[in-house]
Symmetry: C2
Subunit: 134 residues, 2 copies
DNA sequence: CTAATTGATACTATTTTAGTATCATTTAAA
DNA sequence: TTTAAATGATACTAAAATAGTATCAATTAG
């Protein structure tokens, strides 16, 4: 039962680094060196973030990525959505077929309420709130 | 991201059935017939519940299982724990190695708080609360 | 030109989840 | 006392999700 998978985790680390980095553009090479994330995996992650509008990419020599929005406007729920799909805790069970028995309906309802809470609390966390002010 | 896996789900259904069943002892055969759960999988689940003290088992012909506690004393968090281990949402990421960067520490803290909320809300749901009173 | 970069995409490996198979043991009832 | 129907124990397989790798094409600063 995990709220955050590895790719989301790496995405958060990379974005936090970029938010604190003075350079406008950060290359994969720099991130790999500083954060010790497997190169090809990180590339795939950054490409996804680019496609989803979180990052902008720059091709060619001295290319790389930069944040498209300010840290206070990037929510970790955005990142979770990119890598883990829509934020649903009860994904597996209820998705495939509607519940067959009454007790599952009641449970479904209760889990749904809890899910809403988690989503709204996660919704308050931004990248900016993770940075340490110095 | 799932709060409840298949085995926990089947466990809940089986236990709800047994809670409403007039018979004292319910056999796997009856549960398989009524709930359409794969036989061997269900057996494994019920055996685990027996070992963990949720059910009592009766061997031999006309044997089966029955609830060891009253429905209002069985929490679904108990069942989640049996099949999914201790209730931790941030399992994967922080378990293996301590977080390496400051931003992860902050996130860890925030996720921890959310986790606590989920756990305490799940902690309110009992098997009895899932049964429909008629 | 060329070396360093991202884009795209296909592939492999690992882990978790889901489910199956089988033999031994127990026991109610014919 | 035999037997059929049940659980105990355990090893195995299958499928899905997660994590990671490899490679070639296109772009671009110097």
């Amino acid at each position: 039962m995990k709220l955050i998978t590895r790719d989301t985790d790496y995405a958060i680390r990379a974005i936090c680094f970029m938010a604190e980095n003075k350079e406008e553009i950060t290359s994969v090479s720099e991130l790999v060196e500083k954060l010790k994330i497997p190169r090809q995996f990180l590339r795939k992650i950054l490409q996804a973030l680019n496609k989803k509008g979180v990052l902008t990419s720059f091709k060619g020599k001295s290319g790389g990525f930069k944040l498209r929005r300010k840290p206070q406007d990037i929510f970790i729920t955005d990142l979770i959505k990119v890598f883990q799909g829509p934020l649903k805790l009860n994904k597996c069970i209820f998705k495939k077929k509607l519940c067959s028995s009454v007790d599952r309906c009641i449970l479904r309802e209760k889990i749904g309420e809890i899910e809403q809470r988690v989503v709204s609390e996660l919704g308050l966390i931004t990248v900016a709130s993770l940075l340490n002010k110095r």
